[in-house]
């Protein structure tokens, strides 16, 4: 009964590593706050003024933003759909169990990483420069954005499927496309739909601010009312966006639960 506990080293006993890393983090936070001037120039007066003016929304403005809100949703729908259509062949080419050639897969995946590295706002700015101000720019930005996101979600879904049916289809003499149609797609269809809805949800949210850059939709009105100091109208725009996002989230969650 005389077992002695093994001796702990000094550094282990006093948690030197943990304490030092904790201190380092605190220093980084303080330094970052100082350098960005996070505490300077914040006017509570202005904040209250803005808030109070927003408390009295100009409800007559609702009729004016119904069309741009609809346009926002339509942009998200078209962008997500186009992005998904382009993503399907790319996700198949990026999946380890479909394309055995490491180099081809590597090139495709590198390309997809490049696409995903572009934030949606940057894409919107680029498309406004290419196709001009209007919803077409938003659709373009959302197409590329959804393409990058969906291809990754899709190829990861494809990689989780049971390879047995593919082997069975190979043994009956099916060609590559027949194997995909009969053995791969039926296994991932529900996941595809679920990811499509999820991306749509994200795109509706994203497309509300794309208008800020001139890419169509309700974001334009957000910009206009703010620069005219019509905070009563800004409040209406924000509430409208809120309602749309909540509805789309709710519907999408319901549908995705049904698919699971």
């Amino acid at each position: 009964m005389n077992a002695t506990l093994p001796e702990r080293q000094f550094s282990e006993k006093w948690h030197i590593k943990g304490i030092l890393s904790g201190l380092l983090f605190v220093l980084i936070f303080i330094g970052s706050g100082y350098n960005t001037g996070a505490t300077a120039n914040f006017s509570w007066d202005q904040f209250w003024d803005l808030l109070i003016r927003m408390m009295h929304p100009d409800w007559t403005f609702v009729s004016a933003i119904i069309t741009p809100i609809a346009e926002t949703i339509q942009m998200a729908l078209v962008g997500t759909l186009l992005g998904t259509i382009i993503a399907i062949p790319f996700s198949l080419l990026a999946a380890r169990n479909i394309v055995k050639n490491t180099y081809l897969r590597g090139i495709i995946r590198f390309f997809l990483i490049l696409v995903r590295a572009l934030p949606d706002l940057l894409l919107a700015a680029v498309f406004v420069a290419i196709v001009g101000i209007g919803p077409m720019a938003g659709v373009g930005a959302l197409t590329i954005f959804s393409f990058g996101m969906i291809s990754k979600l899709f190829y990861e879904a494809i990689e989780t499927i049971d390879d047995g049916p593919i082997e069975a289809l190979t043994s009956v003499g099916a060609n590559g496309i027949q194997k995909i149609v009969f053995a791969v797609i039926p296994q991932v269809m529900n996941q595809f739909l679920s990811y499509f809805l999820y991306t749509l949800e994200i795109n509706v949210r994203a497309s509300t601010v794309l208008g800020y850059l001139g890419a169509g939709g309700v974001g334009l009105y957000l910009d206009q009312t703010l620069s005219l100091f019509r905070y009563d109208r800004t409040a209406v725009v924000i509430l409208a966006i809120l309602v749309v996002v909540i509805i789309v989230d709710g519907v999408s969650n319901r549908l995705r639960e049904a698919l699971a």
């Binding site: 049971d162 047995g164 049916p165 082997e167 069975a168 009956v172 003499g173 496309i177 027949q178 009969f182």
Partner: protein, 254 residues
């Protein structure tokens, strides 16, 4: 009942995996039309590798495999697919698409006869749909035509898989441990289904672990050990003691 087609001639076939493991070691085997061959041996003896070499789910390192005189080890593209079309395969895990209906799973067995376009859009001919129904009838599964495959029991799934393989109108049926995941009663049904295919003139090659089943159904028993063919006798000459040699523990490596 032999129809003359469905012969398999394996000439000096070896398979060495990239990591140096010997899967098959100079196998020679001549299977006649209409035989019911059971391959026995320990796990890892190469039974599965040999079976999968016959329809080229696995490539071999050396040797040739002639199916009715045509070497499948060198076939490419469409030619390979057409050779595979004549060889049905039944798997231990059934390999059905679980989320698809029984009907679609069975029709998938016929896609080798269709163009990419027609199969993609599910444009199967009336004859083939009737053929699917007839094949399901034969394995007593017609009432499950519109059922999703994941709602079926293991034995039922295997019978659907057999109906699917019949859609190929094959000359050869390969079965890789078809009953390993089944209970004794469904085991008998599945083995009887294979027997029935054999009676219809198809050459049947089955990997099995069960000595009793091998004795009950085979017309010829082949034994593999460490990738080598160590036993090959028609059923009339087989005695139960022979299996001791096939199932003997692995040779010393060095």
């Amino acid at each position: 009942m032999s129809s003359g087609v469905g012969t398999i001639k394996i000439n000096d076939v070896s398979k060495i995996y990239p990591n140096g493991t010997v899967g098959l070691d100079h196998i020679n085997l001549d299977i006649q039309s209409g035989e019911f061959v059971v391959i026995v041996g320990l796990s890892g003896a190469g039974k599965s590798t040999l079976l999968r070499a016959i329809n080229r789910l696995h490539d071999v390192s050396a040797g040739e495999i002639l199916l009715d005189g045509v070497d499948i080890t060198k076939a490419k593209g469409k030619e390979l697919r057409q050779q595979r079309r004549n060889i049905a395969m039944i798997f231990q895990n059934f390999n059905l698409v679980k989320r698809a209906t029984v009907a679609r799973n069975v029709l998938a067995g016929r896609v080798g006869y269709y163009s990419t376009f027609r199969s993609t859009f599910g444009l199967f001919s009336k004859e083939d749909k009737e053929k699917a129904a007839a094949n399901l009838e034969r394995v007593n599964m017609l009432d499950k035509y519109y059922t999703r495959a994941d709602e079926l029991s293991g034995g039922q799934q295997q019978r659907v898989a057999i109906a699917r393989s019949m859609m190929q109108s094959p000359n050869v049926v390969l079965a890789d441990e078809p009953i390993a995941s089944l209970d004794p009663k469904t085991t008998k049904m599945v083995m009887d289904d294979l027997q029935h295919l054999n009676d219809m003139g198809m050459t049947v090659v089955v990997n099995l672990h069960s000595v009793e089943l091998a004795m009950a159904y085979a017309t010829r028993i082949v034994g593999l050990r460490d990738g080598q063919l160590v036993y090959d006798k028609p059923i009339a000459e087989v005695s139960a003691d022979d299996f001791d040699g096939i199932y003997a523990e692995t040779r010393d490596k060095e």
